[in-house]
């Protein structure tokens, strides 16, 4: 189908974008990479008065490191994250997740920020942001504020971003010693995940000092399996391969993670897969 008519303006600064959002009072839509917005315009699921293109806003682009914090600008593309040596060295979890995001042609345009503010429960970046305890930097007419990623994803396609706000970047505080694992089950490479799990553990030598297991494509938002913390905290890395512990973990996550069905997969199947993924994750982390 073809999109309904709209106006278009390309801006060069965040201030210009904010001014247009305010001027059009809810009828303007920001366009980042457009890889989710264009399909929704083409299918006429969205009909903004005007698109405000952020492609020219250089302050929203790029990946940088300062004082132990990595900052990913909202307009950084998936391919840029994939090619970034800084990310490969400092946030390897993201490098592992990138190949699962759609396909090359889409990764060349789609952005970190676009994916986060869209809040698709099947998307990889929101789950990674939560697992890595990222901080979303938002700016709006009332100034700049920061929201923890775990408090940012509120519901299906719904985030803490206010109507006239823009996501500027996400910041990650680097951990001294960590280990991670990413796995997603999908019907075809690059398709939406049927169920996915992002695992991140922090270590003091081989002792587990903190952890986060975040399931995605199971409910309306990424879900943290809180019960895993009680189970594995202060345990040794090699204990994770213990069959009795893995069985306990499966029971914990299958109860705690309240799954919802999608168009092709039942909630029961997702609950089953939640257990499959935690088992694989623990096996791999223990290695």
């Amino acid at each position: 189908m073809k999109a309904a008519a709209f106006n278009y303006e390309k801006v060069n600064t965040i201030q210009e974008a904010l001014r247009l959002l305010e001027l059009h009072n809810g009828n303007a839509k920001l366009i980042a990479g457009g890889q989710s917005l264009l399909p929704s315009l083409n299918m006429r699921l969205s009909n903004p008065e005007i698109l405000v293109d952020l492609q020219g806003v250089s302050e929203l682009k790029g990946i940088s490191e300062a004082n132990g914090v990595i900052r990913i600008g909202a307009m950084t593309t998936h391919t840029e994250i994939q090619n970034s040596e800084l990310i490969q060295n400092k946030l390897p979890l993201l490098s592992k997740a990138v190949p699962h995001i759609a396909h090359r042609a889409i990764r060349n345009l789609g952005t970190w920020g676009g994916s986060c503010v869209y809040g698709d429960p099947a998307a990889e970046w929101p789950a990674c942001a939560v697992a890595l305890d990222g901080v979303m930097v938002l700016t709006g007419p009332k100034g700049t504020r920061k929201v923890a990623a775990k408090d940012f994803f509120l519901d299906l396609y719904t985030t803490a971003l206010e109507e006239n706000e823009i996501l500027v970047a996400t910041e990650f505080t680097l951990k001294a010693s960590e280990k991670n694992y990413f796995e997603e089950l999908s019907r075809r490479h690059g398709d939406y995940a049927v169920t996915g799990l992002v695992s991140q553990i922090e270590l003091k030598e081989s002792l587990i000092t903190d952890c986060r297991f975040v399931f995605f494509s199971v409910a309306s938002t990424p879900l943290i399996a809180m019960g895993m913390k009680d189970l594995i905290l202060n345990k040794n890395l090699s204990d994770l391969a213990n069959p009795a512990l893995i069985e306990q973990a499966q029971n914990i996550v299958r109860v705690e993670i309240k799954t919802l069905p999608d168009l092709t997969n039942s909630a029961q199947m997702k609950t089953h897969l939640v257990g499959v993924l935690i088992s694989r994750a623990l096996h791999n982390l223990a290695k």
Binding site: I31, L41, H103
Partner: protein, 160 residues
């Protein structure tokens, strides 16, 4: 509704045009520029038949607006063919029967071109992963992988 004046370098030629903001890049190429080599399958980013190059990178032509390509360089299968730089790839598609109805072919070729430019070698699995964004509804994937794999090997040997 407003129209916007855009300029772009299209297959090496500087062009100027008036477009409606809602017009996506492949409609602009097919309808206004009469370059019908890029195909439209789904218009929602699923099929990959519309793959073109925007500033040197493959993109879904249906998921980019013509106005967004203002000031950019756009390359289509017509440009790739005219350059002759991928004649070996096109011939390999024929040799290995890597096209049946041909609808997906231009998109497949565009994706394969970026693969060849990005990596010197690729396993069959890597090739499959790379073209996973392009549907062939004749399901002739095996032959397509054969053709791309063959060209990458030939080019490797030629460079030795």
């Amino acid at each position: 509704m407003q129209t916007t004046s855009i300029t772009m370098t299209l297959n090496g030629q500087k062009i100027q045009a008036e477009v409606e903001p809602r017009q996506h890049l492949v409609d602009f190429l097919r309808e206004d520029q009469e370059l019908t080599g890029s195909h439209l399958g789904c218009e929602q980013g699923a099929c990959g038949a519309c793959t073109v190059k925007l500033d040197g990178k493959i993109v879904r032509g249906c998921l980019v607006l013509a106005v967004q390509a203002n000031g950019s360089t756009v390359e289509t299968i017509e440009g790739i063919t005219a350059s002759g730089e991928y004649k070996d790839l096109q011939e390999a598609f024929l040799k290995f029967n890597a096209l049946q109805c041909g609808f997906c072919t231009s998109g497949m070729l565009m994706a394969a071109v970026e693969l060849i430019q990005t990596y010197k070698t690729a396993t069959r699995e890597e090739i499959r992963e790379w073209i996973s964004g392009n549907y062939c509804r004749c399901t002739g994937y095996h032959a397509i992988v054969d053709a791309i794999s063959y060209v990458m090997e030939q080019r490797q040997q030629a460079n030795k």
